[in-house]
Symmetry: C2
DNA sequence: AAAAATAAATGATAATTGTCATATTTAGAA
DNA sequence: TTCTAAATATGACAATTATCATTTATTTTT
């Protein structure tokens, strides 16, 4: 099985401050798992006892609203970690993590993580920074959801998806989402999302190739996202 | 000047795990300040080098949107702490903290806080839990802003305001907000907020006594907040 | 490959929400 | 107090967004 001290994950995030010894310890205790598209890596309300390192693949973090609708809170990809908030706060997981494509994930038991937190203040601090950044981004999201019209939020979301996932060899945003998932990200009805995407295409701002979306005019999108 | 080890603050939050010695150190270095209604305790984008303990008074945490509108993210009252996120993440403050009434606040220099974080893992952990809880609440807020109609959000907000601030001797929610501030909390136009408040009053769910709001039927509000 | 199921697209219409205008009330300053 | 400014309230209307119905396209299953 692969070794944590050689893993690409350690180049990212909080994990980059871990010593060789700590990574070896992780290696000895970790389990690798494959999450198939559509399956849940974490489920809202459940407790977990470890940290997930996303090796490969993409997932969405969602919340089920009281009205039964799914809200997508965040997208996660290879190199990201999941579950640290729950470990640190000793609370159940707050979001569902659902695979958007097949994923390769490593699971590192809570005990090892807590040990590193105790031994390695820098690791601990990096986890805190990660959570703080998420809080900061969440506050921005609240503001935008509350005050921006759907069209602006769609533009914003498309830019952010390209930022997160990059583009493929045809310059399309490198993630496959259904129209419903896009709608659940910006908080609108699926039909509205479809209509606004069609408008953006008609205006030459984006191109739609099946589920693939290509941004043609980033500046125009940026303007729309700011209400112009 | 008052002494931290006798302060009511230490009954709350992360501070409750601090030792007598730590509190004495805080006491020696702290400064007390009065923030007048309308003044800012913290300002978005500025850096701070310490922790604020709110002794008394209320404030709103806001974010200025790209469209120039103010979004209220959170309300803060006596017993709460502010600035720990910025200290821990070593980033500028993300939100404005504006006094809703005159406030008494203590400021404890960053150095003392960082020392306690190093010495006292439980203190550190409690700060993390505080930030984690905020993140969890923020995610819920995103979902509600994105998916619930304004009426539901208003009902939700009224319940939450009573939860946070309690009621005065006339059973009114114990905080004075302008209609504009209520609108900026739920993310709507001031006129819409006014109209929906009037409707709730007409339906006998709340009573409006000037700026004071009294919840008459908590169950009805709860139902409205959930879309019934 | 054909059939069935799911997703996307579009029109028609209704409901929600925002904007502008204006009146009324309240709070603050001279 | 009296004046002035600001906040609240309400109507009229426009813009945005949701819902429902239906068609077309795409994906999945048999």
């Amino acid at each position: 099985m692969s070794n944590c001290s050689h893993c690409i994950m350690k180049r990212f995030n909080a994990l980059k401050t871990l010593s060789h010894d700590e990574l070896e310890r992780f290696s000895d205790h970790k389990t690798s798992l494959i999450i198939k598209k559509g399956e849940n890596l974490m489920t809202e309300g459940n407790s977990i006892n470890g940290l997930y390192c996303i090796q490969d693949g993409k997932c969405k973090l969602t919340k089920l609203n009281t009205n039964g609708k799914e809200q997508i809170i965040k997208f996660v990809k290879g190199g990201d970690i999941l579950g640290h908030r729950s470990i640190l706060s000793e609370e159940p997981v707050g979001l569902n993590a659902t695979a958007l494509e097949d994923m390769r994930v490593c699971f590192i038991p809570k005990g090892d993580i807590l040990e590193s937190i105790k031994d390695n203040p820098q690791f601990s601090l990096n986890l805190i920074k990660n959570i703080s950044l998420q809080l900061s981004q969440a506050n921005t999201a609240i503001s935008q959801m509350a005050q921006k019209p759907v069209k602006d939020r769609l533009a914003e979301t498309l830019l952010s998806l390209e930022e997160i996932f990059g583009v493929d060899n045809e310059d399309c945003i490198d993630v496959i989402l259904t129209r419903e998932e896009i709608a659940n990200t910006i908080g609108t009805a699926t039909e509205s999302a479809i209509r606004l995407l069609s408008n953006l295409k008609k205006d030459g701002v984006i191109d739609l190739l099946g589920k693939k979306i290509k941004i043609l005019n980033k500046n125009a999108l940026k303007n729309i996202s700011e209400g112009y």
